[in-house]
């Protein structure tokens, strides 16, 4: 613990400088120790147990590869009851969950789906693994998530039959709507954006 405080002394200074720059005026921190010493060091195991996120650069993707055909079967069995047959909106039928499949046409879209709106393919893997199926979250294996991801990208017309979806290729899939996404440009002041 003591060694860590020494180690961390330089970082402490860096953080203090940042605080000064960003102006955190809530506490008078003059009398604060470098560290309060509350909390514990997290072990590798602590982190692995919770670190389930997948980034657009592919960091976090497990081993494995998606099979479109198998994904279609899993989707029919575990997802279609809420998201519709083939993930598609059926006219006159109200689904308990959003449609996931249409085409890759952003401009003419009638609703947002993976193919016409989602800017990153990695989001699909990350979200399905953490949240779906809604009635049994966290129940899918990594293999099943890969299969479903491959299937949904294929069904939306983003990838072709026979495409390989794995930790190397998924981050490289160029989503058709990606080019439309821009950062917020509102900044207060007398203008409406």
């Amino acid at each position: 613990m003591i060694r860590w405080i020494n180690d961390n002394f330089k970082t402490g200074i860096a953080v203090f400088t940042l605080l000064a720059v960003f102006g955190c005026g809530h506490n008078s921190q003059k009398d604060w120790p470098d560290s309060f010493g509350y909390g514990k060091t997290a072990s590798k195991a602590d982190i692995i147990a919770k670190d389930i996120d997948v980034r657009p650069d592919g960091v976090g993707l497990p081993k494995g590869a998606g099979r479109i055909d198998t994904g279609a079967l899993i989707f029919a069995e575990k997802c279609a009851m809420c998201h519709g047959v083939g993930g598609k909106l059926v006219k006159g039928q109200k689904l308990p969950a959003p449609a996931l499949v249409s085409d890759t046409n952003f401009v003419k879209r009638k609703g947002n789906t993976v193919g016409n709106y989602w800017p990153y393919a990695t989001t699909l893997f990350d979200y399905v693994r953490r949240s779906m199926p809604y009635n049994a979250p966290g129940s899918l294996t990594n293999q099943e998530v890969y299969d479903i991801t491959a299937y949904l990208l294929y069904a939306n017309g983003v990838i072709k039959k026979g495409a390989t979806i794995n930790a190397q290729t998924l981050p490289k899939v160029v989503m058709p709507a990606r080019k439309y996404f821009v950062n917020d440009d509102r900044r207060g002041g007398n203008e409406v954006r």
Partner: protein
Amino acid sequence: MQGKKISRRSLLGGAAVATVALVQTSVGKVLQPIQTATPPEDPTKTVGPLPSKVGTRSPFENSVRKPSDISSRTPLQDMYSTITPADLHFERHHAGIPTIDPNKYELLIHGMVKRPMKFSLHDLKRFPAVTRTCFIECAGNFRTGKEDMTPQEILGLTSQSEWTGVMLSTLLREVGVDPKSTWFLAEGSDAAILTRSIPVSKAFDDAMIVYAQNGEAIRPAQGYPVRLLLPGWEGNTNVKWLRRLEFGDQPWMTREETSKYTYQVGEKVRQFSFEMDARSIIIYPSYPGKVEPGYIEIRGIAWSGRGKVNKVEVSTDGGKNWEIANLQEPVLSKAHTYFRYLWHWDGRQTEILSRVTDETGYIQPTLQQLKDARGPEMGGYHLNPITAWTVKRDGSVWLKPEEFKKL
């Protein structure tokens, strides 16, 4: 034991507003108070209920949220001031409210930090604490289209609390964030394991890790035992049931910041739209209220995610003329601010409106101004238009509905 206690209480009083019932217990029949909304002829002739462990609202008050499957709305029209009672705070969950054991709770902070750490609830409470009053508003907080809509139905997805917790910057001193880290991921422990990417600058500005709301532990629906508080930023980023913060050098592009909480502006899609722009609404008089000619104190709330409310103007002639309303002090940054304006109504049909200007000089727009700025494909998030109420000759008050289809 129990019989003794009850009979002592029934001797000293303990009868509720009106009714005292004979209740069969294991030790015989005793008098027991029953809460009812039937008042006695003369309350000075009946001894009322004695002190109790937990209070309840008057049986005459029936403010309630308006729930749907995915959210519930605050009854803003019932608010006399700006703190939202915790049990009326709006809710928006993506997979229901998780039950989290406070004794097992842990917040993990890792990634681009010198020392990855985990903090128990007890640990978090030991750090120097801060209390701050601010609003939380959902980014999808706008409905219109019918005359018979209440403030709750139009924009009930905003509420205000006094939050207590530790500044996130205080915790970051402990873990030592790498100066190269630009974004962090905040993750909840609900069944959606909801995640959002947040710029690190917000962590060092005013982000808080909060465990208390209006002086008591946070309500389960608001993130018990711990939530992230990002004053002024869209509700979804204030991740509830917070379990993990990971520091990195790029956004994670989670579903909630790509598929959702993004919106079309012109030909493009606007992303990472964090600040809630300034907004106001008259909550009295409003639908379904009725007023009489003469003096009417117009009342409402105004707020901005970019700082303090600078001024609120009220128009009682459909937007031709604007007068300055009184702001209830203290005016807090990124907080609901109560305004009042005394109006003499002559009994003729008219429209009443409010318009806020915040400290950056931003003036609350009309829906038409937003459409003009964002184009015909304008999405449904971050809409903060002026709300107009029509006051008819019979004193009835109706929303002036506007045309808006959201994609």
